[in-house]
Assembly symmetry: C2
Homo-oligomer: 142 residues x 2
Amino acid sequence: MQCSFSNQEQILQLLKGLNNQISPKFERCTGITSTRYELLHLLYETEEINQSNLQKAVNIDSAAITRHLKQLEANGMVTRRRNPSDNRVIFVCLTEEGRKQIVGYKKEKINFVNQMLLDFKPEELESLSDMLNRMQHNIREY
Amino acid sequence: MQCSFSNQEQILQLLKGLNNQISPKFERCTGITSTRYELLHLLYETEEINQSNLQKAVNIDSAAITRHLKQLEANGMVTRRRNPSDNRVIFVCLTEEGRKQIVGYKKEKINFVNQMLLDFKPEELESLSDMLNRMQHNIREY
DNA sequence: AATCAATTATTGACCTATCAATAAATATAG
DNA sequence: CTATATTTATTGATAGGTCAATAATTGATT
């Protein structure tokens, strides 16, 4: 197949294709969705946090956050309560059960990521992370 | 927030978050989904191609391909016919209308990608594309 | 030739995202 | 103080993706 995609144009497709492949494999390997994992991980580090902050941290919209957290609450991983001094916001907090679970997930995630980034040198990782951040920044205003 | 994610671990989330942001913006800017665009683009370069090859090229599963192509057919962008010498496979082909449309889409896509990759040097693009391919390769067997 | 295996496409069920509309609480302006 | 605007979370509708099951055709084995 003649390659009439410029390098620039290919990047977008690579990104999309890579993500399509990663998502189901991540879940199979770790037993949890990567966004759910990220939510739990963030909660692991912060005592209590409101939904809108979580939402911004994870880059999904507020509807998705609501549904994830309700699900996690139903599974006993998370508790939610309204902020007494501002009844609009909801504080989210990891349960003991959630704290226990995340440890196992983390191990699996590290295995997965190690395999995915096999033979990547530290400079490469840094450069990759830098470029992804720049792309994110470049399309911010769109 | 203390950053207890290693660089390795962050990459996965960056990828996912970036994709979440890109997809709707790409569609707003170009008027077409990025996978649909890729399908049309591939068809633009090859006279006729069967679905399973398209599927592999785009990295989505066969169910998704079927639905996309039926939709594109309903919109008059594409024709589908069975391979006479192997009645399992379906040949897909771009219509004249489709050929016309893709030109406009391409222009918009280039604008979008240029903005997204603003200030990226050619070596960076090459390195990025290389790394994404390696990641894809590393998780192939999972 | 007949059975069994593999390939191709399709369908239904499900999950995760988006967007748009809404409700409820708080902040701001006059 | 009241009216208006803004923020936060929720819900319903829609779209794109996966998986699993199926049908239909072809390929292989014996």
